[in-house]
């Protein structure tokens, strides 16, 4: 059984100005106090999520909508345990995989094969598991002998294929996806969609942040809207096909 529960979670983000990132200003602040302090210690706190409560269980497929900067990515990162809330509680049970900015850990100097292992390890696989994914990735990416060449020689479309294939080669119970469709040629997009669909069907909890109402309707049963850091469930029927 997988579970993802947020109890009144608040996530606050410090935005450091160039000045507060500087050691010199922090030291000056110690010495002078007063005047410079206001400037040197200026840290903007952004409350990206405020008192969010959500309880997801097996079978929940959730779509997140909201304007740019509404906090979708922050919410996904908090779900993944990357961002820690300053208040509230996150309880998560079950293995997790994220598809955010994919390709983390890819080194262009390495061959495609080496990168499959590297990215796999960083995603939490063991070396043996990562190796066992190779056949599937070879098959999906259709990169053939290119996989033996350094990734630096790939076109951006080929790199994208490889990153996508590795990112989606996992079988997690909880899958979190930040909008990332729309790469590669038409035939590949079709294939990518099919792979995504299969992956989503194999997971127990799925959370997907997107602006595409079409995709949200296709993959998700429940829709939540994020607005100014607050989360409301809305009816899926309010999503209009074709709207962005």
């Amino acid at each position: 059984m997988a579970r993802l529960q947020f109890k009144k979670v608040t996530v606050q983000y410090p935005i450091y100005s160039g000045r507060s990132m500087s050691l010199r200003n922090q030291i000056l602040r110690l010495g002078t106090g007063g005047k410079i302090e206001a400037e040197a210690g200026h840290i903007n706190l952004v409350t990206a999520l405020k008192d969010i409560s959500i309880d997801l269980r097996d079978g929940d497929t959730v779509g997140l909508v909201g304007h740019n900067g509404a906090g979708k990515t922050t919410l996904l990162r908090a779900m993944a345990g990357i961002y820690t809330p300053i208040a509230g509680e996150v309880v998560r049970e079950g293995s997790l995989a994220t598809v955010f900015e994919i390709g983390a850990g890819m080194d262009p100097e390495h061959s495609g094969y080496e990168n499959i292992i590297r990215m796999g390890l960083m995603m939490g696989m063991t070396a043996a598991e990562a190796r066992s994914k190779i056949a599937d990735i070879e098959d999906f990416t259709e990169l053939g002998d290119f996989l033996q060449l350094p990734v630096r020689t790939y076109s951006s479309g080929m790199t994208m294929r490889l990153m996508f294939a590795v990112a989606t080669s996992v079988q997690p119970e909880i899958l979190l996806i930040d909008e990332m469709f729309g790469t590669g040629d038409a035939a590949f997009q079709e294939k990518a969609r099919a792979r995504m669909k299969a992956l989503i069907n194999s997971t127990k909890i799925f959370v997907f942040a997107s602006h595409s109402h079409e995709l949200l309707r296709e993959y998700c049963k429940r829709i939540f809207r994020l607005e100014h850091g607050a989360l409301h469930e809305i009816s899926i029927d309010t999503l209009v096909l074709g709207a962005a």
């Binding site: 410090p14 450091y16 345990g81 990357i82 820690t84 994220t98 390890l121 939490g124 070396a127």
Partner: protein, 352 residues
């Protein structure tokens, strides 16, 4: 049957963290936990009486099997791909640092693999590969050894081994320290997108420089053979020496990595100061060469880092206070770094 119940009990304890759970037993033959799993997991505290035991033997037996079950279950939890994860606002983050380090140490092989793979990537398409490091050090030693031995008026056969040892240890130290300040910033894409414990990056960095150190060691061995450096039992002290240095470098890298992520000036400050440190540390010379400042030089912590490895390489044991100083730094350094890492570990994702 009992074992599985104890396992469930252990799981519950883990799950609920600081909340006390006691288990209700109504009948002797009843299951240890008679509440369904769901209720337990939702965190309802239960009242309890301990299971009745008849004899000491039984108690010991049950304790042993409980211990075994808990161990097995803990192993299973840590091993399995289904981590049970829980994070709360302030309460839990007290142990965030230690948890991170424990998770990293469990996966040290990953760090080693990545470090090795980084080294290979850097020298891809070159014929000599990582042995360019070796060659660079060899050329440096030959050139510096020739000139400085004349300048310092010291016999080459004595000076060159000491210089070689000093240089390769210095490269290990300087490599880790220079890169440490930008460590988390450079890995920001990984930190913001994947759940990888942060200390793994630290391990990876220190491993990578250790690989370089091992390559450079070839130069020293060649020099030692050519110039007939004595090999004694004290030479074996190289091993604890390198170990102490590596352990100290781990906290330094972690601390500087954290500070460098928060205060971006540190990277430039360290880069500017290190070349100076090279000259005031006993790399080219040895503390004994200084007539007036021989005592003063030991105030530089890096002197201890160098001498704890160099003395055994030259065939004798370092003075006792070198071990004392390194041990003190190890304890104090790790203490300080751990407390800071525990407090601030969860903020690093926002800094990078």
């Amino acid at each position: 049957m009992l074992e599985s119940e104890l396992a469930l009990y252990a799981a519950l304890q883990r799950r609920l963290g600081e909340q006390r759970i006691d288990i209700v037993v109504h009948r002797r033959d009843a299951p240890l936990c008679d509440i369904d799993r769901e209720t337990c997991l939702s965190g309802v505290p239960l009242r309890a009486t301990p299971p009745p035991f008849n004899t000491v033997q039984q108690v010991v037996g049950k304790l042993l099997s409980a211990n075994r079950a808990i161990k097995q279950y803990a192993d299973k939890l840590l091993e399995s791909q289904k981590p049970i994860f829980m994070t709360t606002g302030k309460k839990e983050s007290r142990y965030a640092g230690i948890t991170d380090i424990a998770q990293s140490l469990k996966r040290w092989r990953v760090a080693l693999y990545l470090a090795w793979s980084d080294t290979r990537a850097r020298y891809r398409r070159s014929v000599l590969g990582p042995f360019w490091l070796t060659l660079g050090t060899a050329i440096g030693v030959a050139g510096l050894g020739w000139i400085w031995s004349e300048l310092l008026k010291i016999d080459r056969a004595k000076f060159i081994p000491s210089l070689t040892a000093g240089l390769i240890v210095w490269q290990f130290l300087a490599g880790c320290i220079t890169e440490s300040t930008g460590l988390f910033v450079k890995q920001s894409i990984i930190i913001r997108n994947l759940q990888l414990p942060y200390f793994l990056h630290v391990l990876q960095l220190v491993f990578r420089h250790f690989v370089n150190f091992a390559h450079n060691l070839v130069v020293y061995i060649a020099v030692a053979v050519i110039l007939a450096v004595p090999v004694t039992w004290d030479t074996l002290l190289v091993i604890p020496g390198v170990f102490m240095v590596a352990m100290n470098l781990l906290w330094i890298t972690l601390l500087f990595g954290m500070l460098g992520a928060r205060f971006r000036d540190l990277e430039y400050a360290v880069a500017a100061l290190l070349p100076l440190l090279f000259f005031i540390s006993p790399v080219i010379y040895r503390p004994g060469y200084l007539s007036f400042s021989a005592r003063l030089i030991w105030l530089n912590p890096l002197s201890h880092f160098i001498e704890i490895i160099r003395d055994p390489m030259l065939g004798f044991s370092p003075p006792w206070f070198v071990y004392a100083a390194m041990g003190t730094m190890l304890v104090l350094g790790w203490g300080m770094t751990l407390s800071l890492f525990n407090q601030r570990r969860n903020r690093i994702a926002f800094w990078v």
